[in-house]
C-alpha cells in the first residue's frame, strides 16, 4: 500500500479536473458532487490502508519515502517529487481525507441549487489535492507547492460569492496576508539551505536529509533566523498574531469551506510545518519562546473578541484563531505531540461546530426566506430555541461545544489539558511557564464562556424570529446530518487514543505513535535544557482539576448571563460602553492595520501615481493629443519632451556608474 501513496493526491486532482472541465456541461448536481466526494473518499481508503500498514510495522521502520519522479536535479541542488509517509503525515492524511470526505458529502446538500455548483466542487477537490501535497511532501519544495496551492484554493473559495464586494475583499485580504507568510517560508528555506550547504556542504531541502544533518546545526544563531522566518510563514497560514485578521473575514466563503479549510485543515498547516521540522525548531530556543508567547497571546486575544460577536460564524472563526493559538503554545513549549493531538481533536469538533452552524444558517435562511423577512440568518440575536426544531444539529453541536470547552470525557479535554500541563511543566522557558499556563487557562475559561453563550443564544430560550418564519424551521436533510453525527461521535470519542498517562485507563497510543517522529527533537532539547524540575502527580491532578473548574466557571457565567438573567449583558454593555465597543470591534486591530500599513501604502501608491504616472504618463497622453493636432509637432514633442528625459536619465546613469568606479 505504501507504494501507492501517490494515489492519495491524485484522486482529488482527477476530480478537480473532471468537474472543472465537464461540470458545466453535466449540470447534474448528484453526478458532480458524487464524483468529487467519491474521489476524496478513495483517497481516504488509500490513507486507511497506509495507516494499517504502518501500524503493522515496527516503530522504527515507520518511515517511507516514495520518489514519484525525479524533479529538479542539478549540481548541488536536488528536489524530487517525493512523498514522505511517517506517523505524523499518516495522521494528517487521515484527518484531511476523513474530515474532507464528510465535508464534501455535506456540501452536496448545503450547496444545493447554488450557481457554479461544479466550480465549487472543482475548487474543493483542488484544495484537497494541495493540502495532501503539503502534508505528504518529502521536501520543502513539494511542501511549498502545497502551501501555495491551499492558499490559492482558499482564495478562490472565500471569493466564491464574488457578487458580494465583501467576499472579494476578504479573498484578497486572505491572499495578501498568506503571501506575506509564504515569503517568510521561502526565506527560511533559503537560509537553512544556504547555511547547511555553505558550511557543511550539505545542499539539501529534503526533510529526511535535513533531519540526518540536523546535528550540524548550531543552537540559536542562524537557526533562530531561519526558524523565525518559517514561523512568519506559519502565522500567515495559521492566522496567528499579527497576521490573523484575514481568518474572520474569510467567513464570507460558503460554510463547509469554513469548516474544511478555515478550521480543520489548511489553517493547521503552520502547526504541521513546525512539527515536521521540530528538529530544527528545537535548536532555536528563542524562536520556541516567540512561538509559545505568540500562541498564548493569540489564544487569549481571539477568545476575548469571541465573547462579543453576534454573527455565529464569526464567533467560531475567532474560536479557531484562539484554538490555533493553543496549538502553537504547545509547539512553542516543545510539546509537539500535544500540539498535533489538539490539531486532530480540534479538526473533529470544530468541523462539527462549523457544519452545525451551517445547518442552522441553512434552516434560518429557509425560514426567513419563507416569511419574506430580511433579517440576517447568521445573527444569533435572531435565533433562539432552535433545539426543538433541529434536534440532531443541536445534540451534535452541544457535544462539540462541551468538547471544546474542556469537560472531562470529551476529546477536547484530553488535548487541551495536555497542552496546559506541558505549558506549566515544560523545561524550556523557565519563569515564563506560570505566565504561559495562566494565559492558556484564562483563555480556556473564555472559550467555555463564548461557546456556551453561542449555544444558549442559538438553541435555548425563546425563539426570536416571527411565528410565521418559525413554522418553516426544519431539521436539515440526512446528507447534512450524517456528517454531523459522525463528527459529533469523533468529537466525543476521538480523544481516547491519547488519554493522559495520569488517568491510566488506556495507554496513550497517540504519544507512542508519534514518538519516533519527535525523538530527534526531544534529544536536542535535552542537551541544552537543564533537567526539568520533577513535578508530582498531585500537582498534575491539581492542575487538571483546576482546568475543569475553570471550564465550569466559564459555562456557569454564560448560563447566568444568557439563561438565568438575560438582562445582565445589556446592563454590562451600558455600564462599560467603551470596553464593549472595543471588544465588539475586535480591539480595532483592523483599523490599526489600516492606519499602520494600508494607508501608508496607499499614500505611497498615490504619490508614485501622482508623481510618476501623472507627470510622465499623462504627459505622454497630452503629448499624443498635441500630435493629433499637427503631425509636424510630433518630432518636437517627442524629442524635446520625453525622449530627451529618457536619454537624460540614461546619461545620468552612465555618469554615476563610471564616476563611482573611477573615484572609488
Amino acid at each position: 500500500m505504501l507504494e501507492y501513496v501517490w494515489l492519495i493526491p491524485l484522486f482529488p486532482l482527477l476530480g478537480a479536473v473532471f468537474n472543472g472541465l465537464l461540470g458545466k456541461k453535466i449540470k447534474n448536481e448528484a453526478v458532480i458532487g458524487g464524483i468529487a466526494t467519491l474521489m476524496i473518499f478513495c483517497s481516504f481508503l488509500v490513507s486507511c490502508g497506509i495507516l494499517m500498514q504502518l501500524i503493522g510495522l515496527p516503530a522504527e521502520e515507520r518511515v517511507f519515502e516514495k520518489v514519484v519522479f525525479p524533479w529538479i536535479h542539478s549540481g548541488n541542488f536536488k528536489a524530487d517529487m517525493a512523498f514522505l509517509v511517517d506517523p505524523l503525515s499518516a495522521i494528517m492524511i487521515m484527518v484531511v481525507t476523513g474530515v474532507g470526505s464528510l465535508i464534501h458529502l455535506y456540501s452536496i446538500g448545503y450547496m444545493h441549487g447554488e450557481e457554479g455548483f461544479y466550480r465549487y466542487f472543482s475548487y474543493l477537490n483542488l484544495f484537497a489535492m494541495s493540502m495532501l501535497l503539503l502534508v505528504l511532501g518529502g521536501n520543502m519544495l513539494v511542501m511549498f507547492i502545497g502551501w501555495e496551492g491551499v492558499g490559492l484554493c482558499s482564495y478562490l473559495l472565500i471569493g466564491y460569492y464574488f457578487h458580494k464586494k465583501s467576499a472579494g475583499d476578504a479573498a484578497k485580504k486572505a491572499f495578501v496576508m498568506n503571501r506575506v507568510g509564504d515569503f517568510g517560508f521561502l526565506i527560511g528555506l533559503f537560509t537553512l539551505y544556504w547555511w547547511l550547504g555553505s558550511n557543511h556542504n550539505v545542499w539539501t531541502i529534503n526533510f529526511t536529509e535535513i533531519k540526518a544533518a540536523s546535528s550540524l546545526l548550531p543552537y540559536g544563531g542562524v537557526v533562530t533566523i531561519a526558524t523565525l522566518c518559517f514561523f512568519v510563514g506559519a502565522t500567515g497560514k495559521s492566522a496567528q498574531i499579527p497576521l490573523y485578521t484575514w481568518l474572520p473575514d474569510a467567513m464570507e466563503g460558503p460554510t463547509p469551506v469554513s469548516a474544511l479549510i478555515h478550521a480543520a485543515t489548511m489553517v493547521t498547516a503552520g502547526v504541521y510545518m513546525i512539527g515536521r521540522m521540530s528538529f530544527v525548531f528545537v535548536k532555536a530556543p528563542d524562536t520556541m519562546m516567540v512561538i509559545a508567547i505568540v500562541g498564548a497571546a493569540t489564544a487569549i486575544f481571539a477568545a476575548t473578541i469571541g465573547t462579543a460577536q453576534n454573527d455565529i460564524k464569526r464567533v467560531l472563526a475567532y474560536s479557531t484563531v484562539s484554538q490555533l493559538g493553543f496549538m502553537f503554545l504547545a509547539m512553542g513549549v516543545g510539546a509537539f505531540t500535544a500540539g498535533v493531538f489538539h490539531l486532530m481533536t480540534h479538526a473533529f469538533f470544530k468541523a462539527c461546530l462549523f457544519l452545525g452552524s451551517g445547518s442552522v444558517i441553512h434552516a434560518m435562511h429557509h425560514a426567513l426566506h419563507h416569511a419574506h423577512s430580511h433579517d440576517d440568518p447568521q445573527d444569533m440575536r435572531n435565533m433562539g430555541g432552535l433545539r426543538k426544531a433541529m434536534p440532531i444539529t443541536f445534540i451534535t453541536f452541544l457535544v462539540s461545544t462541551i468538547a471544546i470547552a474542556g469537560i472531562p470525557g470529551f476529546s477536547g479535554f484530553f488535548s487541551k489539558d495536555e497542552i496546559l500541563w506541558q505549558a506549566f511543566a515544560n523545561p524550556f522557558h523557565g519563569g515564563l511557564n506560570i505566565f504561559l499556563w495562566g494565559t492558556g487557562a484564562i483563555a480556556a475559561c473564555f472559550t467555555a464562556f463564548y461557546m456556551f453563550r453561542l449555544v444558549f443564544m442559538t438553541f435555548f430560550g425563546e425563539c426570536r424570529i416571527t411565528a410565521k418564519s418559525k413554522d418553516h424551521l426544519h431539521e436539515s436533510p440526512l446528507v447534512i446530518t450524517i456528517p454531523l453525527m459522525v463528527l459529533g461521535f469523533l468529537a466525543v470519542f476521538g480523544g481516547y487514543v491519547g488519554m493522559p498517562k495520569l488517568l491510566g485507563m488506556l495507554p496513550n497510543y497517540f504519544e507512542h505513535w508519534l514518538e519516533p517522529v519527535f525523538a530527534t527533537a526531544q534529544g536536542y532539547a535535552q542537551t541544552y535544557v537543564h533537567a526539568g524540575a520533577h513535578h508530582s502527580h498531585a500537582l498534575e491532578w491539581g492542575l487538571m482539576g483546576l482546568s475543569v473548574v475553570i471550564a465550569v466557571i466559564g459555562i456557569a457565567i454564560a448560563y447566568i448571563l444568557y439563561i438565568a438573567s438575560p438582562s445582565i449583558p445589556a446592563r454590562f454593555t451600558a455600564t462599560f460602553p467603551a470596553l464593549h465597543r472595543a471588544v465588539y470591534n475586535k480591539w480595532y486591530i483592523d483599523e490599526l492595520y489600516d492606519f499602520l500599513f494600508i494607508n501608508p501604502c496607499k499614500a505611497l501608491g498615490s504619490f508614485l501615481w501622482k508623481g510618476f504616472d501623472v507627470l510622465v504618463i499623462d504627459g505622454i497622453v497630452d503629448g499624443v493629443a498635441k500630435v493629433v493636432m499637427g503631425l509636424s509637432g510630433m518630432l518636437k514633442n517627442l524629442q524635446s519632451g520625453y525622449v530627451h528625459n529618457y536619454a537624460l536619465s540614461m546619461a545620468l546613469g552612465v555618469v554615476v556608474i563610471i564616476a563611482f568606479y573611477i573615484f572609488r
Binding site: F77, H163, R179, I187, Y193, W194, S198, A647
Partner: protein, 487 residues
C-alpha cells in the same frame, strides 16, 4: 604568425542564420506577388523556414568543437548559443502565429512583417553565437534596425509611430555607449575577439588597473543593460511596448531580451572574468533596482500592456540575479527562465490581443471584467500565464525563479535572493488584479467579437504546454540548460 590549419569559414556554424536570412530575402521577393488579404501565406512560409531552422540547431547539439567554430573564431555555435537560438525561434514562431489576425484587424498587414521578424531573429542568433565583439555588434544592429521598423509597423497609428521613433532614438543612443565601450576595450587589449581579450588579460593582469579598460567594460555593460531594459536604462520600454503592435510587443519583450542576455553573459563571463568583483557588484545594484522599479511601478498601472512592460523590466531583474550568481546553476537558471518567459509572456500577449478589437484596444485591466466566465478556456489560459509570471507553482515561472535564486544562494548572495523573493511576492498583487477582474467581477461586455483562429489556438496551446510541462517535469529542460552552460 600561425598556420592556417583552422577552417577560416565554416558555414555549419552559421547555418541557422543563413537559412533565416535566405528565407527572409526570398519572402521579400515573393511578397510582391501576394495580394494584401493573403499575406498570411507569408506567415506560413516563414513558419516553415523556422521549422527548417530547427534542424541545424538540433543537429549541432554537442557537436565537436572544431565544427562549432567558424569564420576564424568570430562565431562559435556551442550548446549555449544553440539553446538561445531555440528560444529565439520559439518566440519568433509564437509571435508569427498571432500576427496575421491582428495585422488584418488593424489594417496594416504588409508582407514585410515576416521577413523583418526573421531578420531580427537572425540578428539575435548572431548575438548569441558571436565570439567577436564586432560580430555581436553586427547582430545587435541587424536585430535593432528590424525592431525599430516592427515597433512602428502600424504606420497609420500615431502611437505606433511614436514607439518606433522613440525606440530608434534611444536605441541609437545606447548603441553609442556599447560601441564606445567596445572601442575602448579594443584599445586596451588590441583585439575584439572574446577569447583574445581573456588571453590578453591573463597575460597582463595589470591591465585591470587601466581606466580605459575599466570604462570600456562599464560602457559595454550600459549598452547591454539598455537591451535587456535594466533600470535605470529601462525608460523606453513601457512607451515602446504600449505603442507597438501587440504581436510585436510580444516578440520584443522576449527574443531581444534573451539575445541581450546571451551576449552580455558571454562577453562578461569569458572576456572579463578579471573584472568579476566590479561587474558583479554593479549588476547586484542594477538587479535590485530593476526588480524593484519594475514591480513597484507595475503595481499602479491600469493599462495591461504597460503593466506587462513593467513586469518584463522586473523579470529582467530576476534574470540579472542569476547573472550576479555567476555560477553554473545561475546561468542554467537564466536559460531555463528565458525559455519559460517566452511561453508565458507571449501567451499573455496573445490573450490581450484577442480581447482588443479594431480601434478599441481594450487594454485597461477593467476591460477584463468577467472575461473568465464568458470564455472559460481563454480565461484559464490567461490565468496559467499570469500564475507563471507571478512565480506560483506548478508553473514554469516558479521553477525558473526558484532555480535562479538558489543559484544566487549557492554563490553566497543570500540578500539578493531575499530581495528577489520579496519582489516576487509583491508582484503577485498586480497579476492577481487581472484575475480578480476576470473572475470576480460581472461581465460588462459580451466579448462576442473574439475570434480564435486556428493559428492563434495553436500559439496558445503551445504556450500553455510550454508553461505547464516544464513546470511540472522540469528535469529534461533543466538538464539541457545545464549542458548548455559554457563553463
Amino acid at each position: 604568425m600561425e598556420t592556417l590549419a583552422m577552417p577560416a569559414i565554416n558555414f555549419a556554424a552559421i547555418m541557422p542564420e543563413t537559412i533565416l536570412s535566405a528565407v527572409a530575402m526570398a519572402l521579400l521577393l515573393v511578397n510582391v506577388f501576394v495580394r494584401s488579404e493573403q499575406k498570411a501565406y507569408l506567415g506560413y512560409l516563414s513558419l516553415i523556414g523556422i521549422l527548417v531552422t530547427f534542424f541545424p540547431i538540433v543537429a549541432g547539439w554537442n557537436a565537436p568543437v572544431e565544427l562549432q567554430s567558424g569564420f576564424n573564431g568570430a562565431v562559435l555555435q556551442d550548446n549555449f548559443s544553440l539553446f538561445f537560438k531555440g528560444i529565439f525561434l520559439v518566440s519568433a514562431a509564437l509571435s508569427i502565429l498571432i500576427s496575421d489576425q491582428y495585422m488584418q484587424r488593424e489594417g496594416c498587414n504588409h508582407g514585410e512583417l515576416y521577413p523583418l521578424i526573421l531578420l531580427a531573429t537572425a540578428g539575435m542568433m548572431l548575438m548569441a553565437s558571436g565570439t567577436d565583439l564586432m560580430v555581436i555588434f553586427l547582430g545587435l544592429e541587424l536585430l535593432s534596425v528590424a525592431l525599430y521598423v516592427l515597433a512602428g509597423f502600424n504606420r497609420d497609428k500615431l502611437k505606433s509611430n511614436e514607439a518606433g521613433l522613440k525606440y530608434f532614438l534611444l536605441g541609437a543612443f545606447s548603441t553609442g555607449f556599447l560601441l564606445y565601450g567596445m572601442a575602448l576595450t579594443f584599445g586596451a587589449t588590441g583585439t575584439t575577439k572574446i577569447a583574445g581579450i581573456a588571453a590578453y588579460v591573463a597575460a597582463n593582469p595589470m591591465i585591470t588597473g587601466n581606466q580605459m579598460f575599466l570604462v570600456g567594460m562599464l560602457l559595454m555593460g550600459v549598452g547591454f543593460s539598455f537591451k535587456i531594459a535594466a533600470a535605470p536604462f529601462h525608460m523606453w520600454t513601457p512607451d515602446v511596448y504600449e505603442g507597438a503592435p501587440t504581436p510585436m510587443t510580444a516578440f520584443m519583450s522576449v527574443g531581444p531580451k534573451a539575445a541581450g542576455f546571451a551576449a552580455f553573459l558571454r562577453v562578461f563571463m569569458i572576456a572579463l572574468p578579471a573584472y568579476k568583483p566590479e561587474w558583479s557588484a554593479l549588476l547586484w545594484v542594477l538587479a535590485v533596482l530593476t526588480m524593484t522599479v519594475g514591480n513597484i511601478t507595475a503595481l499602479f498601472q491600469q493599462d495591461i500592456k504597460r503593466m506587462l512592460a513593467y513586469s518584463s523590466i522586473a523579470h529582467a531583474g530576476y534574470v540579472l540575479v542569476g547573472f550576479v550568481a555567476g555560477n553554473a546553476v545561475g546561468t542554467a537558471g537564466i536559460m531555463f527562465y528565458m525559455l519559460s518567459y517566452a511561453f508565458m509572456n507571449i501567451g499573455a500577449f496573445a490573450i490581450i490581443l484577442l480581447v482588443g478589437r479594431k480601434g478599441e484596444p481594450n487594454n485597461n485591466v477593467a476591460d477584463y471584467a468577467g472575461f473568465g466566465f464568458k470564455h472559460p478556456l481563454l480565461g484559464l489560459a490567461m490565468s496559467i500565464f499570469l500564475f507563471s509570471l507571478a512565480g506560483i507553482p506548478p508553473a514554469a515561472g516558479f521553477i525558473g525563479k526558484f532555480y535562479i535564486f538558489s543559484g544566487a544562494i549557492q554563490a553566497g548572495y543570500i540578500w539578493l535572493a531575499i530581495i528577489g523573493v520579496l519582489n516576487s511576492a509583491a508582484s503577485v498583487y498586480y497579476y492577481l488584479r487581472v484575475m480578480v477582474f476576470m473572475y470576480m467581477k460581472d461581465p460588462v461586455e459580451e466579448f462576442d467579437w473574439l475570434k480564435v483562429t486556428p493559428a492563434h489556438a495553436l500559439c496558445l496551446l503551445v504556450a500553455v504546454a510550454g508553461v505547464l510541462i516544464p513546470g511540472i517535469v522540469p528535469g529534461y529542460l533543466l538538464e539541457l540548460a545545464q549542458k548548455a552552460v559554457f563553463f
